[in-house]
Symmetry: C3
Subunit: 192 residues, 3 copies
């Protein structure tokens, strides 16, 4: 039988791929947060009606595997590391985002996260993806890491936003606009 | 069609209101955590029985708008910023807290977060409000920001506590006291 | 009536046991995260089918009390503090982990967090326990604290993993292996 606990980490030191680190190391924080995001993605998937949303359910499983790929890349300190993440998953996410954005009602102002229970879970994933992105940004300043991971996590938060909207739309739940919002979403966004 | 992703943030830099910041900037951490709290508030609302708790459901929607107001204030670095948050929402929260505290059984010792599913969600909101407060406290030390936001988030965590208790009380679920708790809640609290 | 809000913390300063601290102090971050973990544990408990899982439900309640013990120890800055946590809870967790590991299918590769809704909640607890461990690790470097708390929280994350697996197993939900996983779990693990 596998003995799950090895007791070796009881004093705050742990193994990474190709080395050891303190548990409060920024790298451990990064893949630990990625793991947290993975768990919340699982929750969103568990709540989602598979009949109504076969496309999103399948996509969420794919994302879980990719979050593990991200975790592997972030956990490795090997000089000759071969990265698992490349730019393919980002392209796939972008396609889904465009499809979902077409399907959901047009958007001009910020909307309150929420609506249906599944949409609320996806908004939670969105904000935890953004928390993950913030910590990876800090890691990237200090240590070598795979830049594709950062791009992927950035796009992933937009994916969760688009998915949350399409879930509400298919369930006939209207998103509530933030009542003091300016017009913030624009077709040809002026990037000054 | 709005194109949700602009790709401009793929390298860890982003726009705030009136400037740009690194994504691991403490200010971005602050309104990002506010956004996370907003998403969890949505979840609590989705779980809540609207028949039994019309008052709390309405209040949670109000809070979501106010969390956006907080986010706006925190995201702005304009010299001449006009703040969205003032002291009115805090007064309203205090009134609700007093009403809920009267309705729920009296309290002397710490209680375990939980009970019904809705109460558990509200306790989650309570602790994430407190996480938000901690990061805003750090921001306030370093940069200009609207002090009303800090007061509001502090009171909000007490609101979530009071709401969780009244939810259990109306559902006839008894809160479980922490078994090794001292008497910690007192009517006329000695603030030494 | 108890007045829940004292307004004394509106400017970012607060009381600990035997002193005061800024709210963004690492110690406050540590027991605040412990409190967050406690709330998520409550959520997992609320979702769990009590008929099918009387053992895990009871264990989760026990864990909630122990997380309060951890919180007490972390919140105290008294020179002559008497700690609440000792090594007994860790031994009990280890026994449960071994029992659950026997009951669930054998494990060689990483699995995706998730499956049933209850298992997803337990995986969320697992990752938040690990977040708690990271911040306590940072605290332990800087200030006096009870080392048993660190060991307990480390083992607790393994407990949540084992519990998630047994929940899926009893519900006949198969855990999905991470598709690019190496063989990572081993009976006699080489600790080099
Ligand atoms: C702050 C902010 C947030 C905050 C919200 C703040 C809060 N209240 O809590 C948070 C972090 C929550 C957030 C989240 C998101 N955001 Co945002 N956000 C911004 C930001 C920085 C400011 C928006 C704002 O409030 N502006 C205040 C208004 C008053 O200022 P303004 O936009 O400059 O507009 C004024 C003037 O310029 C003028 N004006 C401007 N345009 C025009 C056009 C015409 C014709 C006229 C007459 C006048 C005029 O009128 C306005 C009113 O005075 C913008 C970027 C930016 N600097 O604009 C992105 C931005 C709006 N966000 C964006 C996105 C994508 C999102 C998210 C989907 C990201 C995600 N994946 O989670 C979510 C959606 C959240 C939701 N629930 O709807 C994108 C939208 C892209 C697009 N296609 O339009 C932007 C533009 C950033 C970017 N990528 O470049 N965001
Ligand atoms: C640590 C702490 C927490 C921790 C809990 C710690 C843990 N175990 O995990 C956390 C962060 C979880 C927490 C949460 C909350 N807390 Co708190 N917490 C405290 C704190 C700092 C210490 C409490 C404690 O454990 N004391 C240990 C005991 C042994 O010490 P003691 O209280 O000093 O009492 C001893 C002696 O003084 C003496 N004694 C004291 N009074 C009296 C009176 C008499 C008549 C006698 C004879 C003797 C006696 O006997 C006691 C036993 O030896 C107090 C502030 C403080 N310094 O007291 C606030 C405090 C109790 N919390 C408070 C609040 C509001 C909350 C929350 C509702 C906040 C929120 N919105 O989330 C939640 C509720 C959580 C819950 N689930 O019930 C308030 C209560 C206000 C009130 N009206 O009474 C306090 C007083 C802080 C404040 N604002 O001033 N808290
Ligand atoms: C990174 C990592 C994680 C990451 C996952 C990374 C990601 N992709 O996101 C995260 C943080 C998510 C994680 C979580 C967990 N992990 Co982990 N993790 C690791 C770590 C550091 C690396 C694993 C890895 O990917 N290795 C990459 C492979 C390619 O390298 P390798 O293992 O060295 O194996 C290669 C060679 O050495 C060779 N080889 C090795 N052994 C053998 C044997 C034979 C016979 C042969 C022929 C060849 C061979 O072949 C392999 C392929 O090339 C290991 C410790 C370590 N350094 O190994 C722990 C480790 C696997 N984890 C462990 C545990 C317990 C867990 C958790 C249960 C902890 C928890 N409570 O949450 C969870 C489970 C998660 C899940 N969902 O299944 C334990 C397992 C203990 C055991 N009894 O085996 C380990 C060993 C750490 C420890 N305590 O010592 N983990
Ligand atoms: C939509 C707005 O959200 C903010 N933003 C961009 N990335 C993140 C992140 N990872 N976390 C929090 N906020 C972020 C920026 O201010 C952007 O303009
Ligand atoms: C009830 C107790 O909770 C602690 N406390 C006050 N504010 C926060 C916060 N934002 N996060 C965590 N803990 C906090 C203080 O120790 C207070 O006395
Ligand atoms: C299983 C793997 O998880 C990592 N690890 C160990 N403890 C933590 C923690 N608290 N948070 C995140 N990751 C952790 C180590 O890399 C270990 O080898
Ligand atoms: Mg982005
Ligand atoms: Mg407070
Ligand atoms: Mg561990």
């Amino acid at each position: 039988m596998v003995r799950l606990y090895t007791r070796s980490g009881d004093k705050g030191r742990t193994r990474v791929i190709g080395g050891t680190r303190d548990k409060d190391d920024i790298r451990v924080e990064a893949y630990g947060t990625c793991d947290e995001l993975n768990a919340f993605t699982a929750k969103a998937e568990a709540v989602l009606d598979k009949q109504l949303f076969p496309d999103i359910a399948a996509e969420l499983t794919r994302i879980q595997h990719e979050l593990f790929d991200c975790g592997s890349d972030l956990a490795s300190v090997k000089e000759d590391a071969v990265w698992k993440m490349d730019d393919q998953p980002v392209s796939r996410l972008e396609k889904s985002i465009d499809v979902y954005t077409e399907e959901a009602p047009e958007l001009q102002r910020f909307i309150l996260p929420g609506g249906s229970s599944a949409a609320a879970e996806l908004h939670i994933c969105r904000t935890i993806a953004r928390r993950t992105e913030r910590i990876i940004t800090a890691l990237a300043k200090e240590e070598t890491m795979n830049g594709e991971v950062l791009t992927y996590i950035n796009r992933l938060s937009d994916y969760f936003f688009a998915a949350a909207r399409v879930v509400n739309s298919r369930m006939n739940v209207a998103d509530v606009e933030y009542e003091r919002s300016a017009v913030v979403f624009r077709a040809h966004h002026d990037k000054t």
